[in-house]
């Protein structure tokens, strides 16, 4: 044995990392995986109910919620010449366009940052009316995702980025920000908090630092009406009309209030489906519990039959091709049909 081998053997024998004494790790390993994948930093910070994170998967084609009360032709305002001589994609809503107060109020709280360059379109959006949300812009093979969070998570987001090295100072629409690049080359831009909101941008696709600088220079903050007007036309559809399409073959629980769906806000079709079907599922389970408690056997049967029929509802089948939320719904539906449901359905379905 060489001297080197002898030293290595001494070190190897002193290894405190043997897992033999830790016991069977399968259970705790799976538990931690589920915790990590279902619990975001913000959710922990604000104590929001846990919901499986994969409800955030997005459809490739975005349709979104109803914000427009009445429609007249939108006037295009040229803000500058884009690459190739094209015009800016930013439009302003004409004087005849009336947005709903809920949408305007939510838009006022949004960061309302747009890429003022031809070719960039909004590809996905959720959390429009909430304190945490995301809008994803796409142009060709490149994407820029803007996530917004309550300002108090800034320190955590910043320290989380530092694992990839020190930050570089940049500015976005004149506002100070820090740029990070990951080991794989993707960029993150973390803006300093503004109006109690912090924005974190992430690139995906083939971006160079020069590309990032060019796009950052094109980002502008717009007013609420402009922000709403820029959203894809399919997102601007009256909530009632959109809900009617979603609920066309869905059995509604007693007392279901379609008007209350207004609060779902602007979102892509998957997230809109989650918002609507959460209320449907929670309503049916509540009705089932009420009927059981009061000895209303017919009511119990109606709730069971409705939930059993949910596997055929088009909206859930469509969503099932996009993400796993319908599977959660059906798990609880099956439990109701079997006569018992875990209390976790409140969090699992996002009941309010």
């Amino acid at each position: 044995m060489t001297t080197e081998e002898r030293v290595d053997r001494l070190v190897r024998d002193a290894d405190p990392g043997g897992l033999g004494v830790v016991g069977d790790l399968a259970g705790v390993k799976q538990a931690l995986l589920e915790e990590i994948m279902s619990e975001s930093l913000v959710r922990r910070a604000v104590g929001m109910p846990r919901r499986r994170l994969w409800v955030r998967r997005f459809a490739g084609v975005v349709t979104a919620a109803a914000v427009l009360v009445s429609v007249v032709p939108v006037s295009v305002v040229v803000r500058g010449q884009a690459e190739g001589g094209g015009v800016s994609p930013i439009v302003s809503a004409g004087a005849g366009v009336v947005f709903s107060p809920l949408a305007m109020e939510a838009a006022q709280r949004n960061p309302r940052l747009l890429i003022d360059r031809a070719g960039w379109t909004v590809a996905a959006l959720y959390g429009f009316a909430e304190e945490q949300g995301m809008v994803r812009f796409r142009r060709g093979g490149r994407e820029l995702e803007m996530n917004w969070y309550p300002a108090y998570v800034y320190a955590d987001r910043y320290s989380g980025q530092l694992v990839d090295g020190p930050a570089k100072s940049v500015r976005v629409d004149g506002w100070p920000a820090d740029l990070f690049q990951s080991l794989s080359g993707d960029f993150t831009v973390l803006l300093r908090p503004r109006d109690n909101v912090v924005v974190e941008m992430k690139t995906s696709g083939n971006w160079s630092r020069k590309d990032v600088d060019r796009v950052l220079a094109d980002i502008v903050r717009v007013d609420a009406r402009t922000w709403l007007a820029v959203l894809p036309a399919e997102m601007v559809m009256p909530v009632r009309e959109r809900a009617a399409r979603v609920l066309v073959d869905v059995s509604l629980p007693p007392g279901f209030d379609v008007a209350a769906l207004d609060e779902i806000g602007v979102s892509d079709s998957y997230q809109f489906g989650v918002g609507v079907m959460s209320r449907v599922g929670c309503g049916w389970i509540a009705e089932w519990q009420r009927a059981r408690a009061s000895g209303d056997e017919a009511g119990v049967r109606r709730a069971v039959e409705a939930l059993r029929g949910s596997r055929g509802w088009r909206v859930l089948r469509d969503m099932d091709r996009v993400g796993d939320w319908p599977e959660v719904f059906w798990e609880y539906a099956d439990e109701v049909a079997a006569g018992t449901v875990r209390p976790g359905y409140v969090e699992g379905l996002g009941c309010r």
Partner: protein
């Protein structure tokens, strides 16, 4: 869903399944109290989950995770990592399973004390080589140095360790754990 999102999640699941034990062992080797390894593992995989898009493909993922864990540990040693609610079950299982280091045989403790006496990067080169079983180019990827520098430091670490341990380590007396190792600047 966008296929990219799905691929990112699948990749994270695969990396987690394949590398969880390696990361736990890595953490156990570098913390003062074994149960703290749960925090390091949880924080490392939480970072990996948030940055799942950045996880390299194939065999490079484990090295990337070691790199993340190294930064998490550095933060941990500075007191910057708050104990996570995440990983509480893992923490409990480790705490209930792993023996008190004080009950270990003297020779092992002496070697660990000697390791603690090495310059940080030299120590890490030796540990990654012997405990994690990495090749010099892999150690270089984790530490962000050149493979040639790894070979130089490895040779120096072995020599110094041999000098610190001696042919007959004997009773070590009071033993510092690896966690409390010198943080002096590298030479």
């Amino acid at each position: 869903m966008s296929s990219g999102t799905e691929q990112d999640e699948d990749r994270f699941r695969r990396v987690y399944a394949e590398d969880f034990e390696s990361l736990l062992a890595y953490a156990l080797r570098r913390v003062a109290h074994p149960e703290d390894a749960a925090d390091v593992v949880a924080e490392t995989f939480l970072v990996a989950w948030r940055r799942r898009r950045d996880i390299p493909v194939a065999g490079a993922a484990r090295l990337w995770l070691y790199g993340v864990a190294r930064r998490v540990l550095a933060n941990h040693h500075r007191g910057g990592v708050r104990r996570q609610r995440l990983g509480e079950r893992l923490r409990q299982q480790i705490g209930a399973s792993v023996a008190d280091p004080g009950s270990e045989v003297a020779e092992r403790l002496a070697v660990r004390a000697a390791l603690a006496g090495l310059v940080e990067v030299d120590r890490e080169v030796l540990m990654l080589t012997v405990w994690e079983g990495l090749q010099p180019h892999e150690v270089a990827a984790v530490l962000g140095v050149s493979p040639a520098a790894v070979r130089t430091r490895l040779s120096r670490a072995r020599t110094r360790l041999r000098g610190l341990v001696g042919d007959d380590p004997g009773p070590p007396g009071h033993v510092l754990d690896v966690l409390t190792a010198s943080t002096r600047k590298e030479d």
